[in-house]
Subunit: 271 residues, 2 copies
């Protein structure tokens, strides 16, 4: 149980694709979860917030079918697959943003592929003016894992995890709240081993030692499960931004995490 | 009647809000027109194409209600109005892009507010890397008039006309095809004066002389009617990019204009 003082500094909230969609059903949003989370975010009343959501069953099946992450191999059907993948993400994003607008939050959808180009899968160029102005003016930007252009690969997939960590660094966030579909990082798979226990707090050094032992309890996807998430978070944590991994599928957890109230999860700090 | 050779150079196609929506019915897309235009664009098979559409009955009623164009006056309901205006534009854009995907065009929606910030209503900063890469890779970017952040005003409305002309200059287009809901520029209002005649061809100098005489036959909106369109087009025409104004509400006109085939309309060239 960890308590953070409610601050005016930026919080980046990542909502996993497995939370906002039904991962096993292609192109199916988890609307009850989206609406509940919209209410929790509204109730938390944060002054500086940025939201990034994953692709789940909207982005991943198409990305996989057309091998978008692997890059453009000169096959025109892949171009069309990129178009469809992007549009599927726009469809999911619209559902998320609509739910947030329903809760009277002044959100603005921001399309990663419209302002970011990657290089071998890593964010290479990004204009930060629109996002900076949005935050300054009092908006809540809503971004997502996206199919993006890539200097080396032609195109690829930019995961919501990489994006969330990058934005947290770029805009000097205080914390990244990672809302996933399990309670946090475990010492072993709790579905298999009874002795498995939740890691409630760890430092970056402890985390790095654990890398080999971390069990992937989160649903795997093209952007790489729990270990992938931790690796993506590392540069942000190194900059002093804490990461708090909570189960966003359980009601009130995201609300409490945003408010800095006591909640079950894994907190990772630099030291 | 004017014929352009089909070229491999970029064409920027602007589709007016009065063409893709039913202007008199709030939040009502003109789906038959959108689908017809998607087929015409698909049939035209251009290798370098960028599409910009207007807001029509999606963007304008909200933009007007919350005085978005005039800028942020510190009223939080305006922030929420900005969110709703942007989301309405996303909704219309999704309908347009979905129709283009239905026709197997490798389109990619690009959100102006995600990569452009204006200054007193004029485009001030814009990253061109994603658009450049999209065009190079063979995609058809689809943009739209949007609610954007503004360095002086807080936020404002960026018209699809300004955007289309700016992109045409930025990416060295050969021509801007302006698809509107009348046949072109008239010497007088053809609905009132029998003597009114369509101007089929004019130079920039001739156009400037006519400014005071040009009658606004197009439906007026927050972004400023026919005269506004011509003023926005002027910087592009000065750079040698021709502007061809055609009636996109009439079948086959956009197809013919894109193909460089003979079609009724107003062609404006530098000299």
């Amino acid at each position: 149980m960890w308590v953070r003082k409610l601050s005016r500094k930026l919080i980046v909230l990542k909502l996993g694709g497995s939370v906002v969609t039904r991962k096993e059903k292609p192109f199916t949003a988890n609307l009850p979860a989206i609406r509940r989370l919209a209410k929790e975010i509204s109730d938390a009343k944060l002054s500086q917030l940025m939201i990034v959501h994953g692709g789940g069953s909207f982005g991943h099946p198409l990305a996989k079918q057309y091998a978008i992450k692997e890059g453009y191999r000169g096959d025109p059907t892949q171009l069309f697959g990129f178009s469809k993948t992007r549009q599927a993400m726009m469809t999911l994003n619209k559902l998320v943003v609509d739910a947030l607008i329903q809760r009277n939050i002044s959100v603005v959808a921001v399309s990663p592929s419209s302002f970011i180009v990657t290089k071998s899968g890593r964010i290479a160029t990004m204009t930060d003016e629109p996002l900076k102005k949005l935050l300054q003016t009092g908006f809540v930007p809503v971004l997502y894992g996206d199919a993006v252009l890539d200097f080396d690969l032609g195109f690829t997939i930019l995961s919501g995890d990489q994006l969330a960590a990058y934005l947290a660094v770029q805009f000097s966030a205080e914390q990244i709240v990672m809302g996933i579909d399990v309670d946090g990082v475990f010492t072993a798979d709790p579905r298999v081993e009874e002795s498995a226990s939740l890691i409630r707090h760890c430092t970056l050094q402890e985390l790095k030692k654990m890398h080999t032992r971390i069990v992937d309890t989160s649903s795997t996807d093209v952007t790489g499960g729990m270990l992938g998430k931790l690796i993506e978070l590392t540069p942000a944590i190194e900059k002093g931004i804490s990461a708090f991994i909570v189960n966003a599928s359980k009601p009130k957890n995201v609300y409490k995490a945003l408010r800095g109230e006591s909640v079950t999860g894994t907190l990772i700090q630099k030291t």
